[in-house]
């Protein structure tokens, strides 16, 4: 029995996400250092802080507006690859939210958007390795922290095929993907939001 997604619990969810990103900012940038340019934490923190500012300045009336505001702030402020990717995820959720409030459907649309934007598929060591299996879990009503951890951890043994890490080829093995980790926070934040699942 899925409870309803509302503007209020969406904002709470996004606030939880922002808090996690800010808390783990240095860790995310650290993950991005051996296989990237070491800015993922700073990028995401800049992004979620802009999101919070936007939601505070102008409280959205509808779910669709809320998703759109999140998307636009991320697109404007993140600066790295994760900007257009998270931005696209939330834009797709905005579109989908006109028809449904089901998180499984919303995240399935988000995942398709991310895949289309970046050209990555499951196994390429990107945020898609978290979005795709967990969208599926959400659809089944089975999202749990252990599933999130597993999806994030699973990127460690993969060879990067997209993004900056792909320049390192085989040498990217043994490192967690930073975007997978931050995506993990997005799903954890969902679990911690009362009444949204």
């Amino acid at each position: 029995m899925t409870m309803a997604l509302t503007v209020d619990n969406l904002i709470e969810w996004i606030n939880n996400f922002s808090q996690k990103v800010n808390e783990h900012k240095d860790y995310l940038s650290e993950l991005d250092t051996p296989i990237g340019d070491g800015d993922h934490g700073n990028n995401m923190a800049r992004g979620v802080n802009a999101v919070q500012e936007s939601l505070t300045n102008k409280k959205p009336a509808e779910l669709t507006d809320a998703f759109k505001q999140v998307a636009m702030a991320l697109i404007s402020k993140v600066g790295g690859a994760s900007g257009p990717l998270y931005g696209t995820a939330f834009l797709e959720m905005a579109k989908k939210s006109k028809d449904t409030t089901d998180l499984g459907e919303l995240f399935t649309a988000a995942n398709e958007g991310v895949k289309k934007r970046g050209g990555a598929k499951v196994g390429d060591k990107t945020m898609v390795d978290v979005f795709e299996p967990l969208a599926e879990k959400l659809t089944q009503g089975l999202l749990e922290q252990s599933e999130i951890d597993e999806a994030v951890e699973g990127t460690k043994d993969l060879v990067a095929k997209k993004g900056r890490a792909s320049y390192l080829g085989e040498r990217s093995v043994g490192h967690l993907d930073p975007g997978a980790m931050s995506s993990g926070y997005l799903f954890s934040a969902l679990i911690e939001t009362e009444g949204i699942l």
């Binding site: 340019d37 404007s76 600066g79 790295g80």
Partner: protein, 122 residues
């Protein structure tokens, strides 16, 4: 239908510098650029790219970029733009130079694209 060029780089200096090289061989080709994030840091900005498309006096634009994440912002800006934007996965400096020289010489888009093909590196 006029043809212009837009340069997108993660680094503001590269974005501003490359048009200087192109202007030398393509004084009459409309050239605009977008470099760095909104705050001028290393990265790209969809809004800056949008602006570069708008500011370009041409109504059909050949766009060149440096790294993959610039491409994603370029594609978002492309989807929002009313202009026809052509995106090339080619060596940034070398292909922008090639395109600029050829456009200045009045070469058609089709022929320019033919010469860009061997410069595909991403």
């Amino acid at each position: 239908m006029s043809l212009g060029i837009t340069i997108v780089s993660h680094v503001p200096e590269i974005a501003a510098g490359l048009p200087k090289l192109l202007k030398q061989v393509a004084a009459d080709v409309p050239l605009t650029y977008a470099g760095g994030t909104d705050d001028g840091d290393i990265g790209t900005s969809m809004e800056k790219i949008n602006q570069a498309f708008d500011d370009n006096s041409a109504d059909e634009i050949l766009a060149f970029y440096d790294l993959g994440s610039a491409k994603m912002n370029l594609e978002m800006a492309q989807e929002m733009s009313e202009k026809t934007i052509h995106l090339y996965d080619t060596a940034l400096i070398e292909s922008a130079y090639t395109a600029a020289s050829l456009l200045q010489a009045g070469v058609s888009l089709k022929d320019v694209e033919e010469q860009l093909k061997p410069l595909k590196v991403k």
